[in-house]
Symmetry: C2
Subunit: 212 residues, 2 copies
């Protein structure tokens, strides 16, 4: 978790700082020396955390690599009940909520998010883990939405389809954002939000696409 310093108990702040230190160490190292070449043992050494604690903080090496991205989804999941109280097309609601969550991420999130996105573009294991998190998000949405749309047959499939589109839009936006020149230092949150809005606005028309 990318947590603001100074919140919660001393204990939880220590944990947050350790996690933060690991992420700050890992992402640049992965980028420079390659994901496989950077071992968990080395990272633990650098961040002065025992390997055992590492696996208490993160679900695994991929989870560490995806922290900035996963934080977004986790936060969105945490807010789901509030988000789904709004009315309107589900895809729009999810899109706006996603933008809102991105805007709420802590300062400096951009730099790590860029590295994380690039990493999932180059490292299949990381990409797979990221897709899994998105799928879990979908499950949460389905679980939260079915009771809200009583008696509508096929609501589950519809929710899944909408989430799939949302995830695809998110991935496309992240890919475009990350690929800008000098993105690792210059990519701004405003640009990302604009890309996200654009993806979500364009997506519905995509189903019309025809082969000539």
């Amino acid at each position: 978790m990318t947590t603001q310093p100074g919140s919660g108990t001393l204990r939880s702040r220590r944990i947050a700082r350790s996690r933060q230190r690991l992420v700050e160490t890992a992402l640049p190292a992965f980028t420079e020396r390659g994901y496989d070449a950077v071992t968990v043992d080395w990272l633990c050494d650098q961040a002065e955390v025992s390997k055992r604690s590492f696996f208490r903080y993160f679900d695994g090496k991929e989870d560490l690599a995806l922290t900035p991205l996963n934080d977004v989804w986790r936060l969105l999941i945490a807010d789901l009940d509030t988000v789904l109280d709004r009315s309107g097309p589900l895809l729009e609601v999810l899109g706006e909520a996603l933008v809102a969550v991105v805007e709420r991420m802590p300062a400096g999130w951009e730099r790590l998010a860029v590295l994380s996105t690039r990493l999932s573009g180059t490292t299949p294991a990381v990409d797979a883990a990221g897709l899994l998190v998105c799928e879990r998000f979908t499950d949460q949405v389905v679980g939260a939405i079915t009771p809200r749309l009583p008696g509508s047959p096929g609501a589950e499939l519809s929710a899944r389809v909408v989430c799939a589109v949302a995830v695809a839009g998110h991935r496309a936006a992240m890919a475009a954002w990350q690929s800008g020149p000098g993105a690792e230092t210059r990519a701004t949150r405003g640009e990302l939000c604009a890309l996200l809005r654009e993806s979500f606005a364009t997506a519905p028309a995509a189903l019309e696409i025809r082969l000539p």
Copy 2:
């Protein structure tokens, strides 16, 4: 690969038989004793294949577990150029091609496909690997379609969205198919194709879904 016996050279038939033996051994074992409890070493022992060869036949343990499902996507990818020569809405074209590929799978495919689907429902690592294969399918479609739709801006995003919907429809259909009573022995290919057609037909309307 679930390959028909008797095709190709002696060498490739040996390989196909070894792969087949591994899959036939693995999927029931995974189901009965649990994915983690069944080790690669044990499987190699059973199928009389060296561990070294195992990793030459499969990309990993997950790839083995997903063989029946992955075969479908791989075959679809192999046929992509032919498939995309048709005209009409991309989603429909992909849907029909998917059904056609399923119908072409070798006899007895159903039994293993059911086990494989269940496995990805219960084992996150397997599910993640499955999602990755679908994502690679998407990449292939994007790569094949961009040159065919010259000068249409946003064609890439559109293709990705359509593939995401196709994948979601496929997953929903497989989940429904596999969950039928006694599916491990009684699930028929006809049922699956019907479910697939239904998913693909219903999907476009899903984007209209609204919150009250």
